[in-house]
């Protein structure tokens, strides 16, 4: 009898090799490890920031000093020495990225190797990329074409320089620096990230994407992304992330803020493939991220789709505050953990406005000795007349030593609301495997097929380019598939 645990094909599938573990040999400006107000002043000065931003950073830092690391997540790690991390590292280059021709060829080569060619001609038409390397943005493509319709897509640093009024108006309004430990840390030391502004009535003509790369050892990456969708605008944004293979853990503590005004739609997709550590759990990224969207206007919509495959530890809960009447929040997630990876991920849907709706679909796959937890909060406030939530949360276990956990919180304070939650946990059915094999599929193909089917509801929410990448991440080829 073939048990799933002894199945070589299955182990192949889940034991996929990390393909992005290389290091780029490039000269960098890296500050010595350590965190103090001086570090923050250094970062702020390096970026030529206005006074208000430095003040904000310092307030965040002082608040952070009063906090303790959160302990409630189902993850375990040795204490993090925040003084041993370097908070700024940038490839040596003339002040700030300008055009693609000024970018160090080694960096271009790096992104080429990662499958993200930055030359506009080589890019897939229809996707603009902001490439963030350690602490800084290297370049942003297709800016001219976007600015022709009024869309601002640039690095966060550039936004601070060129559009300080927008940054000041929106920064920290969705995720205040007081929000949590890692958000406070990020607010104090964030170095770069992407900034998106879609003017009223504009449907962004192309997909926007940011590709995050950690390269330098002993650094942390603290990026901050802010997306503002003005009334009746529409944008689809994607992010991808990778890092070299190293024995030490590295910290990634990002903050993402989304603001959707009346009738606006933001679709935010992530394929997270940070280095997960080796099979003994050595190394890997600690991915402690705060992502939140604010559906401020009526009829606005924010949709999060994530495929979480990497990182030693993932701690993230992309959330929606459904303030506007009829606003819609969605969360579609696939989280895969293997070896000693740990994931505690899910979402929060806070229903404030009338007729607000939210949908949560979470698929967790756990293998090896990994622990995979879904944690989600659905909160219906008394003002949220006729609010609706539906949550579907499924876990697939592969192997006898992994864990899959589900922690949903539902807090309902309006008697016209309907909140529904369903969850299942099981392994791949022997009968399903046999059925596929009887039709001639190898066990490996059968497992791929079943796992893919399990994740389908989420994959189909991804933009095409990312759907393919996501499926490849599960080592499944849909090449030439009909339908």
């Amino acid at each position: 009898m073939t048990s799933t645990t002894e199945n070589p094909a299955l182990e192949d599938l889940i034991g996929r090799r990390y393909a992005h573990g290389f290091v780029t040999d490039i000269e960098s400006d890296t500050v010595p490890p350590g965190l103090s107000e001086d570090t923050i002043r250094f970062i702020s000065a390096k970026k030529g920031e206005p006074e208000f931003l430095l003040e904000w950073r310092l307030k965040a830092y002082r608040h952070w000093l009063t906090l303790r690391e959160p302990r409630w997540a189902k993850v375990h790690h040795p204490p993090i020495d925040y003084q041993a991390i370097s908070y700024y590292s940038a490839p040596k280059a003339p002040q700030g990225p300008r055009s693609i021709d000024e970018v160090d060829p080694k960096l271009l080569e790096t992104y080429e190797k990662l499958g993200i060619p930055l030359h506009e001609r080589a890019r897939l038409a229809g996707v603009a990329v902001d490439a963030v390397f350690d602490s800084v943005s290297v370049t942003t493509t297709f800016k001219d074409r976007l600015s022709a319709v009024g869309v601002i897509f640039c690095s966060f640093s550039e936004a601070v320089r060129e559009h300080p009024e927008l940054v000041r108006k929106y920064l920290g309004t969705v995720v205040p620096y007081r929000d949590n430990y890692f958000a406070a840390l990020n607010s104090a030391v964030f170095t770069d990230g992407s900034f998106v502004y879609i003017p009223q009535g504009v449907r962004c003509p192309m997909e926007l994407s940011t590709y995050f790369r950690i390269n330098q050892a002993k650094t942390g990456q603290f990026e901050r992304t802010l997306i503002i969708a003005e009334e009746a605008s529409h944008v689809s944004y994607l992010e991808g992330c990778t890092a070299p293979q190293r024995e030490e853990n590295q910290l990634h503590a990002a903050v993402v803020e989304l603001v959707a005004l009346r009738d606006a739609t933001i679709k935010y997709s992530t394929v997270q493939n940070w280095y997960p550590g080796d099979e003994e759990g050595r190394g890997g990224i600690y991915n402690f991220v705060t992502k939140r969207g604010d559906c401020r206007g009526a009829n606005s919509r924010i949709s999060w789709t994530q495929v979480e495959a990497g990182s030693a530890i993932t701690w993230k809960y992309p959330s929606c505050i459904l303030r506007g009447e009829n606003s819609v929040g969605e969360f579609y997630s696939v989280a895969v953990t293997n070896n000693l990876q740990q994931a505690d991920t899910g979402t929060k849907m806070i229903h404030i406005g009338r007729n607000t709706r939210s949908t949560i679909v979470s698929k967790g796959i756990s293998a090896g000795r990994a622990q995979n937890a879904y944690r989600g909060l659905v909160k219906i406030l008394p003002t949220a007349e006729n609010a609706r939530n539906y949550t579907q949360c499924d876990s697939l276990l592969m192997g006898a030593r992994c864990g899959a956990h589900t922690f949903p919180y539902m807090e309902v304070r309006n008697p016209t609301a309907v909140v529904e939650h369903e969850a299942t946990t099981s392994r791949i059915g022997d009968d399903q495997l046999f059925y596929c094999r009887q039709r001639g599929l190898s066990t490996e193909d059968a497992v791929n097929l079943i796992v893919n089917g399990f994740c389908k509801q989420v994959f189909r929410e991804l933009p095409m380019e990312f759907a393919v990448e996501a499926q490849n991440l599960l080592n499944v080829s849909l090449e030439g598939a009909v339908g």
């Binding site: 876990s395 006898a400 956990h405 589900t406 949903p408 919180y409 309902v412 909140v419 369903e422 099981s426």
Partner: protein, 437 residues
């Protein structure tokens, strides 16, 4: 305000009045020491996310302030306490007031022991000591320690191996009396190998009562326990109630929990499927109307292969009530081939009421089938319309559907009279009290 380490103050008072000469002082001392260390649970404890013990502490403080004064004994009537003939009793009733056994009716046949630790026949002392040892051996929990530290009596129910008492239910009536009063009922249940027992535990009392009850049960190999827990406190009664039920191989338990009264009621029930092939069915119902705060926390822990659990809770919140369900299933490594299903359905009927639900799964083996589902919403509009089309007015239609929704949880009660009594109570409460938006 409570004094610092109120358990120390309370323990000195409790010891004075306890009159339990052979009470294991060591046990009490270690419980007190753990309390000194851990204190009382607060909001930072995830298990207490939705229930604050502030008002509970205030009442305790009132009690300590008034202690030493003779409490006015005002006993509520014990419902359905009609013993059968001495020769063939239909049931055994035990009345426990403020934690101590007061009366007992119905003779116990051979093979069954029901009584207080204080009146233990010499031949049962060995078994009682063993049970107390098991009880003390459980992982510490603050409210259990508090009970151990302040307990004034222990009620023991035990069967002999191979006996069956399906036709002779044991009813324990736990009553709090006096204003203020703080009692610490403790019940130990030992269902020996291949025996069967039907047990009900009803919490009631008089205004101003505060109780911290603990029930611990061990179900031996192939044995079965039918347990019904009823909380029908007075409107301002407060109860914290911890139970721990442990099942050996091939053992089974059928548990129904019903919360109908009180101002603050917090139940924490742990069912451990420790033996291979053991199974548990847990049904629950809570009616958080008026100003009631009813918190049900359950944990079903699968520790052995081939274990099965099925849990279903139905809840309602109305008025300024708040109903909480936090049900966790854990499947530990080694519990291959386990099955667990949990369902929680709630009705939220008023804009000032709240339902918080948190059904959790923690699964550590792959060969399992586990599921949970939870809903919070309203009555089915189609069903309401259907009843109205048959001539019922809206209020009556709602009442019929609400009662039917909740009654589902009573279906596994094996004692017809008890089930009917509870259904009638439910009907009465819904008929009078439920308001609708």
């Amino acid at each position: 305000m409570l004094p610092e380490r109120p358990w120390r103050t309370a323990a000195s008072l409790a010891r004075d009045g306890a009159g339990l000469p052979d009470w294991p002082a060591e046990w009490r001392a270690s419980a007190l020491a753990r309390l000194d260390e851990a204190g009382m649970p607060d909001g930072s404890d995830e298990e207490w996310r939705y229930t604050s013990l502030t008002a509970w502490g205030q009442r305790w403080s009132d009690y300590l302030a008034a202690a030493g004064q003779p409490a006015a004994i005002t006993l509520p009537a014990v419902p359905s306490m009609q013993p059968g003939s001495v020769a063939r009793p239909a049931a055994i009733h035990v009345q426990v007031v403020n934690g101590a056994l007061l009366t007992q009716t119905g003779a116990t046949p051979p093979g069954l022991f029901v009584g207080s630790l204080r009146q233990l026949p010499p031949e049962l002392r060995g078994r009682a000591a063993e049970l107390l040892g098991k009880s003390a051996g459980l992982p510490p929990e603050q409210l259990v320690d508090l009970n151990s530290a302040l307990v004034s009596d222990v009620i023991l129910i035990g069967t002999d191996a191979g006996t069956s008492f399906d036709g002779l239910p044991v009813h324990i009536h736990l009553q709090g009396s006096g204003s203020p009063a703080f009692s610490h009922p403790r019940i130990l249940v030992d269902v020996a190998r291949s025996s069967r027992l039907t047990l009900t535990i009803e919490h009631s009392g008089a205004d101003g009562m505060l109780a911290n009850a603990v029930t611990q049960a061990w179900i031996g190999h192939g044995a079965h326990l039918d347990l019904v827990r009823v909380q029908s406190l007075p409107d301002d009664g407060m109860l914290t109630d911890t139970s721990h039920i442990d099942l050996a191989a091939a053992a089974s338990a059928r548990i129904t929990s019903v919360d109908l009264g009180g101002l603050l009621s917090r139940q924490s029930m742990t069912v451990v499927l420790a033996g291979a092939g053991s199974s548990a069915t847990v049904d629950g119902l809570f009616l958080a109307d008026d100003r009631r705060h009813i918190d049900n926390r359950t944990l079903l822990e699968h520790r052995a292969p081939g274990t099965t659990s099925r849990e279903s809770f139905r809840g309602l919140a109305d008025g300024h009530g708040r109903g909480i369900f936090n049900g966790k299933i854990i499947v530990m490594p080694g519990a291959e081939g386990s099955n667990a299903a949990l369902s929680n359905r709630n009705l939220l009927l008023a804009a000032t009421a709240e339902i918080d639900t948190k059904p959790e799964l923690e699964i550590y083996v792959d060969d399992v089938k586990c599921s949970h589902g939870a809903t919070t919403g309203q009555l089915d509009a189609n069903a309401l319309f259907y009843l109205r089309s048959r001539g019922l007015d809206p209020a009556a239609a709602r009442q019929v559907l609400t009662a039917a929704f909740l009654r589902e949880a009573l279906g596994h009660i094996a004692l017809p009279e008890l089930r009917e009594r509870l259904e009638a109570r439910l009907q009465e409460k819904l008929g009078g009290g439920v308001r609708h938006p």
